[in-house]
Amino acid sequence: MVEVLFFVAGIGAIAGAIGVIAVRNPFFSVLALVSHLLCLAALFLLLHAEFVAAAQVVVYAGAVMVLYVFVVAYVGGQDEPLGPGAGSGLRPVSMVFGALLFIELCAATLGSGLKLVDTNGAHIDPGFGSAAQIGQLLLTRFLLPFEAASFLLLIAAVGAVVLARRRGGLTAAEDQARYTAMDLLRPAYTGTMAEGVGGTRRLPPVSERAAATAPAEAPAVPVQDD
């Protein structure tokens, strides 16, 4: 039973991994990675790592992959040409490199002379890998890595906000959404205080507004950086 589950999950994980690098559309790459992660969680369960498997499904296949899907949808997952193109001479090199790396990793892990590699593993207690044991370890022996990881997450969150924030002015098309109701109701060029200091965005008069349908056209007043 364990053997059947292992081969199903292992073949699924490898097929998902191949799908990630072989599919042309990034969106389908993300979906292949989700299936790969689910199969990997099954392998974790076979290794009695229940908490890690649950975290893998919830955090990785759930939250992180949703982030990926959103970014792929935002960037617009254009199909990447997989055929010959710039730098296609690297493909045979990468194949050879991958084969050598696989041989080296197998030699390093399987030929390491560890006595327990060819067994089912050492004897384990019934509560091995449960949430209780992981929680106890995280809060006693590994308290410092736990706190450092939380700081790392905080720094990454702040860094992502800083990286992806809006810099400089808006484009004309985005600027259209920033007009308030007052800009529409007020007669044009009535001279408000904000207009006097030149810092406001004024709607052009109705006649110009009807003419200016192209979104690429510059707004009436130069947009100030905010």
Partner: protein, 99 residues
């Protein structure tokens, strides 16, 4: 199942991820391949943890997952910033990091 089988699967997944990093040109897919490599390392860590009957390796795997999540956040933030600046989403054309 022998622990060696898990290690072989882990080595194969790591190899596929490394080949993907070398072959693909979209930074989004390169990030996905990095995820593959980190997950292969996680599988090896958990296999060794089972081998020794010691749960420390699982803690290590959880920390690796945290680091992977941070890397994804920053990488996707950079890709969104590139998209905002109308830069091509292609690592072959992004040879310079300045500006």
């Amino acid at each position: 199942m022998d622990i060696g089988w898990y290690l072989a699967v882990s080595a194969l997944i790591f190899t596929i991820g490394a080949a993907g990093v070398l072959t693909r040109r979209s930074p989004l897919v390169i990030l996905l391949c990095l995820e593959l490599m980190l997950n292969a390392a996680n599988l090896a860590l958990i296999a060794f943890s089972r081998m020794h009957g010691n749960a420390d390796g699982q803690i290590f795997a959880i920390i690796v997952m945290v680091v992977a999540a941070c890397e994804v956040t920053i990488g996707l933030g950079i890709i969104v910033a590139m998209h905002r600046r109308r830069l091509p989403i292609d690592v072959d054309e992004l040879r310079e990091l300045q500006g």
